[in-house]
Amino acid sequence: MRTLSLIGLMTLLLACSEPKTRPETADKLKPILVLVNPPPGVTNFEQPLDGATRPVPVAGGTVTLQFHFIGPTGMGALTLTPGEPEPRPLTLPITNWTVAAPAPTEYPGLQHVTIAAQANLPTAVELSAAWPAFATEGFARLRYTLVVTDGTRELPLAGDFVVYRDTGVAGATEHLFGSSIDYPVANENVSETKLTISSSLQNTQGEPVKIGWYVSAGEIKNRRAATTEWELPGSGDYTLIFTVRGKESRNGDLQIRKVTLP
C-alpha cells in the first residue's frame, strides 16, 4: 500500500505554521489578479464591479487582459513584455500582445498598478485545427506568458483564459460573478488592531473560487477565506485588497478599501 505518514502530515503543519515572509503584504512587486475583458473605463476599484457586463473572448475577435499588481509606494515603473511562446503543442501561442502604459494609483501604504494587454485571437478554424475538441465543445483554453519587471525584479507570469466559438456556446454567459468587501465599511474608521474582515460573492453558478486578500501591512490569518482576521501593526492608514477568481471560468473580481485605525 502507498501509505502516508500521519506524523509527516503534522510535521508539514508545523513547518507551514510560521512562515517568515508573507504573501499578502505589498513589500515588493506582486501580481494579484488578471481580469479577462474587464469592463471598459473602470479605474475605481473601490466600487463593486458588475461582472455580468463583461464580454467573453470569442474566436477571431480580440481579448484584453488587465493585469493587476501591487508594490510598495514609490515602486519603479512597471514594464510588461510578452514571454517565451508556449511550447505545448495543444495550445496556440498568443504572442501578438499590444501592451498599454501602466496605470499606477497610490493608496495608503501601497501602489496599485494596472496594465492592459490586448491580442487578436485565432479564428474558429485555426482553433479547430489546433485543438479538434474546439469544434465539438465550442471552447478552448489559450495560454499566455508575459514577464513583468519593476527594474529590480523580473517575474514571469502565466495563465490561460477561455475563448468561445461564439456567445451562444453553453457557459459563455455563465460563471460571471461579482464581489464586495462587507467589513471594514468604506469611509469608517476601525477601532481595533485585530479586525475581522469579510466579503461577499455573487456566485450564482456555485463555481469553485480562489480568494486572495492583500494588505499594505499586517498579517492576514487565512488569506483564502471569505471571512478572516487581519492584524494591523498599529495606528495608521492602510489598504485592504480582496480578489477572487473562478477556477473554471478564469473570471475574477477585485475590491480595494482604505482603512484607518486612529
Binding site: M1, R2, T3, I7, T11, L13, P19, L157, A158, N222
Partner: protein
C-alpha cells in the same frame, strides 16, 4: 498554532514526569530489616508455613533457601516450607540467586499459621550474558530480542528497533522503513508467518502487536532466503511467544498524552493459553483541549488495535490462532493555499485499517521432518482524501503459506514451501491527471481523472532451498517460482547464500539473488494504469564479516550492491510506466555489546549511495532515498534493580531535494510555481541532522504487582537541529526548519 499546543502538551507531560520522579524517589530501595532481635520472649516452638514469592509479581519461588541458625532449608515446588519457629530470640534469612536476602524475626512468625515473604530483585548482574536462540541462517539478518528492544528502542517498542539498525534511513516524523535505498513499499512485514500491511501505528512509536506477546524481531536488510517473496527491499518479522504462561497476568498502560491499553494472558490448562490486548489512542480527546480556541486547525489523529492469541501445545504439534486488528486515522481541516472553499480550508482525511486472522500449525512428522502451515485471512482498507481528491482501496486476501523442513546432518536443512493466495478488492480513485510535458503543470489545476473498479486475482508461489556443505563452507542455494494473477508472466528468482567460518570467531557471509515485487493493482488497471507493467526486479549482492570478539562483543561489517529495474514511475500515456531503475551500494558496520542484566547497546553506521533514473536513456541522479551517512548509537545501563537509564544518538545525512532556481506566477491559481533545476535533480540537501533521546525507567515494586514509569525526552539536540529546508511562498528565499521540538513523554504501566 499547533506549536503553541505542543508546548502546552510538553508542559503537561513535564508535570507528569516530575510527579513520577517524586513518587519514584519516595520509593527507593529500602535496606533489608535488621537481623538483630532484642526482645527477650522465649516461648515454645511453633509451626508456620512460609511462602516465598518474588516482589512485584507474586511469582512463586521454588528452591528458595531458608537459613535458621546453622540449618539450611529450601522451599518446595509450590514455594512453601513448613518451618518450626524456635522459641528463642533470633531471625531467619531467606535467600535466592538474583534476589536480595530478607531477614524475618522469629517473633514475627510466632502465632501465625502462614507467612508470605516477598524477595526484592537483587543488583543487576553484568557477568551473565543472555543467550538468544539461532534460526535459519540469513546473511543480513539481525535478531533483536524483546528484552533488548525494551531497553533501547524508541518508546521501548519492538517494531521501532529497525530505525536503529544498519542500512535503515530515518527522518524526524517518518515512520516508514527505508532499507538500503529501497522504497518504503518494497519491504514486507510479518507477525510470525502472517503477512501484515504494517507492523506499527503511524502515530506514536507503537507496534500493532503488544510487546508482551513477542520474543524477538528479525530484521533482514537484503539477500534473504527463498521463503520470502514479493519484496525487493527488506523483511521485518515480529516473532511471537510459543511458551505457555505459568500464571494469569494483567498489565495496563497509560501513556500521556497518547494512549491507554490493557493486556491479559492466562493459562487455560496445562497445554493451552490465551492472551488478549486492546489499545486506544487518547490524543484525539486531548488535542481539542490544548489547541487554542481561535485556531483555524482541526486535527484529529487516532489509532486503535486489538489482539488475541490462543496457543495450544502438545508433544508433536503446536497451534497458534492469532487475530490482529489495527486502525490509524487522521482528519484535518486547516488553511491551505489550494483551498477553493470560502472558509479557505481544505479537509484532509486518512484512514488505514486492517484485520488479520491466522491459524499456525507447527507439526513434527518424525524422522527429521516437520511442517508449518498458516492459513490466514486479511482485510485491509486504505483511504485518503485531500479536498475532492481521494484514494480508496479495500482488499480481502486469503493465503496459506506452508513449509516442510527436513533436518539433515550437522544442522543442515532442506526446505520446501508453497503459498496459494486469492485476493479480491476494489479501488476508487479521483486524482489529478499527470501532464509532465506541461511546464506550468500544477495538480491543483489539473483535470481530474476517476477510476472505480473491482479486482480479483489468484497468486501462487513455491520455493525450495537446501543447505549444502563444501569443506567448511555452508552454502544454501534456493529458488522461488511465482505467478501473480494480474501480471502476465511467471517469475523465477534464484538465490544463494554462503557462510565460511574462518575460525571459531570469524565468519565470512555472502548472499546474492533476484528479488521481485508485483505492481499495485491500480498500476496495471486498464482504465487508470498500464496493463503491460510486470514485476519490479532487484538483484542483491552482499558480502560481510562477522566477528565474535568475546561473549559480550560482536562486530559485523557488510558491503552491499543492489540494482532495481522495471521500477514503476509516474508518467507516460497511461499514468504509470515501468521504465525506471535504481542502484544502491554501501558499507555497514555494526558493533554490538550483548545483553547482560546491566548493560546493552550498539553502534550502527551506514555509508551508502542510492541513484535512480526514469529510463535507460536518462542519466543517473541521486535517489530521494539516498542518505550518505547514518550513525546510530544506542545504549541502556541498569544502575540498580529499579532504575534503568538509556540514550539514543542519531546522526545522518539528510535526504536530497531538487533546488529551485526561480518561480513563475500562475495567475489562474494566484500562486507561485517553482522552477526546479531539472538538470541537477536531488542535488541539494539540508545540513546533516542529529538528535538525542534520553530516557529512564523506574520500577516501583509492590508485593504482588508493580508499576513501571518510563519517561524521557526525544528530539533533543546540541545547538539548532535542522530537519528540512523550506522555501517561502514565492521561492525567493529558503529557510532551514526544525520540524519537531524536543518532546517529553511519560508512560505508566502496571503488571498484576
Amino acid at each position: 498554532m499547533l506549536m503553541i499546543s505542543l508546548k502546552k502538551m510538553q508542559n503537561m507531560t513535564l508535570l507528569c514526569c516530575c510527579a513520577a520522579a517524586v513518587q519514584a524517589v519516595s520509593q527507593t530501595e529500602e535496606p533489608p530489616p535488621s537481623p538483630v532481635v532484642t526482645t527477650p520472649a522465649p516461648s515454645a516452638v511453633t509451626k508456620v508455613r512460609l511462602k516465598v514469592m518474588a516482589k512485584g509479581s507474586g511469582r512463586i519461588l521454588k528452591r528458595a533457601e531458608i537459613r535458621v541458625g546453622q540449618e539450611i532449608l529450601a522451599t518446595g515446588p509450590d514455594g512453601t516450607l513448613e518451618l518450626d519457629v524456635p522459641g528463642r530470640e533470633g531471625s531467619i534469612q531467606v535467600l535466592r540467586q538474583g534476589y536480595e536476602a530478607v531477614f524475618i524475626d522469629f517473633k514475627d512468625l510466632r502465632g501465625k499459621s502462614s507467612y508470605s515473604v516477598y524477595l526484592p530483585p537483587g543488583k543487576p548482574d553484568d557477568s551473565e550474558v543472555v543467550i538468544t536462540g539461532q534460526r535459519r541462517p540469513e546473511t543480513s539478518r539481525k535478531t533483536v530480542t524483546v528484552q533488548e528492544t525494551s531497553r533501547i528502542a524508541p518508546g521501548g517498542d519492538p517494531a521501532q528497533i529497525a530505525q536503529l539498525l544498519p542500512g535503515v534511513q530515518s527522518s524526524p516524523g517518518r515512520t516508514e522503513v527505508v532499507i538500503r535505498g529501497s522504497g518504503p513499499n518494497d519491504s514486507r512485514y510479518f507477525v510470525d508467518d502472517i503477512l501484515v500491511p504494517s507492523i506499527f501505528h503511524q502515530v506514536q512509536n507503537l507496534s500493532v502487536v503488544p510487546a508482551q506477546q513477542l520474543t524477538d524481531v528479525d530484521f533482514n536488510s537484503g539477500g534473504f532466503g527463498a521463503q520470502y517473496g514479493d519484496a525487493t527491499g527488506g523483511i521485518i518479522v515480529l516473532r511471537s511467544k510459543d511458551t505457555l504462561p505459568e500464571n494469569p497476568r494483567t498489565e495496563f498502560v497509560v501513556n500521556v498524552p497518547f494512549y491507554l491499553g490493557i493486556y491479559h494472558e492466562r493459562p487455560l490448562d496445562e497445554t493451552s493459553s490465551i492472551a488478549v490486548s486492546v489499545r486506544k489512542s487518547t490524543i484525539e480527546a486531548i488535542l481539542p483541549m490544548v489547541l487554542p480556541d481561535d485556531s483555524d486547525i482541526t486535527v484529529i489523529p487516532l489509532f486503535a488495535d486489538a489482539y488475541a492469541r490462543y496457543l495450544t501445545k502438545s508433544e508433536t504439534t503446536n497451534h497458534k490462532l492469532t487475530v490482529i486488528a489495527s486502525e490509524d486515522g487522521l482528519t484535518l481541516s486547516a488553511p491551505f493555499d489550494s483551498s477553493t472553499e470560502v472558509d479557505g480550508k481544505v479537509d484532509v482525511s486518512f484512514k488505514n485499517r486492517f484485520a488479520v486472522i491466522g491459524w499456525e500449525r507447527d507439526h513434527n512428522l518424525g524422522e527429521g521432518w516437520r511442517y508449518r502451515t498458516t492459513p490466514q485471512y486479511a482485510y485491509s482498507r486504505f483511504q485518503i482524501g485531500f479536498g475532492e481528491d481521494k484514494v480508496y482501496i479495500t482488499s480481502n486476501e486469503i493465503q496459506m503459506p506452508t513449509e516442510f523442513t527436513k533436518r539433515l546432518d550437522k544442522g543442515r536443512n532442506l526446505y520446501l514451501g508453497f503459498s496459494p493466495q486469492y485476493t479480491v478488492g476494489k479501488f476508487d480513485i479521483t486524482a489529478p491527471a499527470f501532464a509532465t510535458d506541461d511546464p506550468y503543470y500544477d495538480p491543483e489545476d489539473a483535470p481530474r481523472i476517476s477510476a472505480n473498479s473491482t479486482f480479483s486475482f489468484s497468486s501462487f508461489a513455491a520455493w525450495s532451498s537446501l543447505d549444502l556443505q563444501a569443506g567448511p563452507i555452508v552454502y544454501t542455494p534456493g529458488v522461488r517460482v511465482f505467478k501473480t494473477g494480474f501480471v502476465d508472466e511467471v517469475g523465477v528468482d534464484p538465490r544463494l547464500a554462503a557462510r565460511y567460518p574462518i575460525d571459531a570467531n570469524n565468519t565470512i557471509k555472502a548472499a546474492t539473488g533476484q528479488y521481485s515485487i508485483a505492481p499495485e493493482p491500480q498500476e496495471t488497471n486498464e482504465d487508470f494504469g498500464d496493463p503491460d507493467i510486470g514485476y519490479e526486479r532487484a538483484n542483491h549482492y552482499v558480502l560481510g564479516l562477522e566477528t565474535r570478539w568475546t561473549d559480550r562483543w560482536i562486530t559485523e561489517f557488510q558491503t552491499f550492491y543492489k540494482k532495481t529495474y522495471r521500477l514503476v514511475v509516474s508518467g507516460g500515456p497511461n499514468n504509470y510506466q515501468d521504465t525506471g531503475s535504481r542502484r544502491s551500494y554501501g558499507f555497514e558496520a555494526f558493533i554490538r555489546r550483548n545483553l547482560t542484566e546491566q548493560f546493552f547497546g550498539w553502534l550502527a553506521y551506514t555509508w551508502s549511495v542510492s541513484e535512480e533514473r526514469k529510463s535507460d536513456e536518462d542519466d543517473w541522479y541521486t535517489s530521494q532515498y539516498d542518505q550518505t551517512h547514518i550513525l546510530n548509537l544506542a545504549g541502556s545501563y541498569k544502575i540498580s534493580a529499579y532504575w534503568d537509564l538509556g540514550t539514543r544518538l542519531k546522526y545522518n545525512t539528510q535526504s536530497p531535494y531538487t533546488p529551485v532556481t526561480g518561480s513563475i506566477y500562475n495567475s489562474n491559481l494566484d500562486k507561485y510555481q517553482p522552477i526546479y533545476d531539472n538538470s541537477n535533480p536531488n542535488s541539494a540537501r539540508a545540513p546533516v541532522s542529529h538528535s538525542i533521546a534520553l530516557f529512564a525507567t523506574y520500577d516501583s515494586l509492590y508485593d504482588t504487582y508493580k508499576l513501571k514509569y518510563q519517561f524521557g525526552v526525544d528530539y533533543l539536540s546540541v545547538g539548532r537541529r535542522v530537519d528540512s529546508v523550506q522555501y517561502n511562498y514565492d521561492y525567493s528565499e529558503k529557510e532551514e526548519m526544525s520540524s519537531l521540538p524536543p518532546i517529553p513523554y511519560i508512560q505508566i504501566s502496571g503488571e498484576f
